[in-house]
Assembly symmetry: C2
């Protein structure tokens, strides 16, 4: 039993979908969320830069005595998971492994689509993770750079969002994938649209949900869970522009996002 908080971080706001999934699956756990809003987005940055930023955030979270760290950011997971695991005395969980495992299990045809930011797709991390679990999988990866700004604009059902989704997803539909990994923490908010465009027979894999499941397992294996009578606290911190974080973030997480601490990193 351990009432220390779980650290969760992202380059910005998107990781709140992971935080929300953690709140729902682990309602007794306290959390500290860090959004690196001063340096968002990580996608176009070099792997070295993403690693350096991620290590800074890890050390900030460790200074807050977290008992586990969730990298709620696909780009950071792709470039920095190994470095953070080496540097961290507490378990570090990324978003790519859980999504890849769920996809490798869910697919029947072995044809899996992965969508994400340009940085995540260019890293090829999902393809490698899926093929390591299922060598015969055919993985079609597609960068969808307009999805993040569409989500941040709140245009989940705008006719333009539908056109953009049809354009991005056409090669995956044509390739006959039966499973689609949402490889960006913003994308769960587009689920109804993506399901409509892909058709009802395609299984969508939500990395946020899968990651919260992996976190629950990791805490259980190490006896790190909070007791069932623990009253959780949820703390939020950002590196810049707290007002915008709260305004846009409330769309991701609902009413829990009432205030955020500003921590100038970098």
């Amino acid at each position: 039993m351990n009432t220390a908080p779980i650290g969760i971080f992202d380059s910005g706001i998107g990781g709140l979908t992971v935080a929300r999934a953690v709140f729902e699956r682990l309602p007794h756990e306290s959390t500290i969320y860090f959004g690196d809003t001063a340096r968002v987005p990580y996608g176009p940055k070099s792997p070295e830069t993403v690693r350096r930023y991620s290590l800074e955030i890890l050390h900030w979270l460790l200074g807050r005595d977290v008992k586990a760290v969730v990298i709620a950011c696909n780009t950071s997971t792709a470039h920095a998971l190994m470095a953070l695991r080496e540097a961290s005395p507490v378990p570090v969980i990324g978003v790519i492994g859980p999504g890849a495992r769920a996809a490798a299990t869910a697919t029947r045809s072995g044809r899996i689509g992965v969508i994400g930011t340009a940085g995540t797709i260019a890293s090829g991390a999902y393809g490698r993770a899926i093929r390591a679990l299922r060598a015969d999988a055919i993985v079609e990866e597609r960068a969808c750079p307009l999805f993040v700004p569409l989500v941040e604009e709140g245009w989940f059902d705008h006719p333009a969002a539908e056109l953009i989704a049809c354009d991005y997803l056409e090669p995956l539909r044509a390739g006959g994938v039966d499973t689609l990994v949402l490889g960006c923490t913003h994308y769960p908010l587009l689920k109804p649209l993506l399901q409509r465009v892909m058709g009802p027979e395609v299984r969508l894999i939500d990395s946020a949900e899968e990651t919260s499941r992996t976190l629950a397992d990791a805490l259980g294996e190490r006896a790190l869970e909070a007791p069932a009578d623990a009253v959780p606290t949820h703390h939020f911190a950002v590196s810049d522009d707290e007002a915008r974080f709260r305004a846009v973030g409330s769309r991701f997480i609902g009413e829990r996002l009432s205030a955020a601490e500003v921590v100038p990193l970098g």
Copy 2:
């Protein structure tokens, strides 16, 4: 006469539309362009952070012996122009004043629209600059956050771009503006689309062109021009991800963008 280069900087790639306008208007002038691709975008960052980053870049450019500095970034102009003018021994030109002047001159009805990123519009800088020149002007400002990713995706004529532009511009059309300021350095690439949506009678003000005109005047007044037989050089530097800068930047500037130096700031 002075063959020193002109420094031009932006948070990233967009300022290349300004660089291109400078190349075209001042074909004998050498330039050094700095794109802060490690810290792009500036729009969501706080005014203090944008000022700090802009001052760092100013000092880097001054170290390269520039004879003038163009802030080819609306957010940086809005938040840092005064600070840079105080700190700089050479003339500093922003993109907002030239666009505002051109709009105040061009309008017949006095109703002027301004479009830009969320940061530029929230700053209110264009409205203030226009009303300082023409107190009776009615300025309608509108943030268009999806335009930058649309331009970077190269989707100038995608049906989704048309739907998005219609949505963003509807209040400006309804407000009867006769002049529209493109208050973001990415937007000149959307000119045909924006003209189509606004209608042929609305005058579009391209801040990049207007800024190059103001720069030419400033060099002339101070006798800082390069001689007519000078052979110009154009140097590019970025703070991260040189490959993406060249790939996307070539859409902005054509074949001149063959290589960029990487300068790690921040």
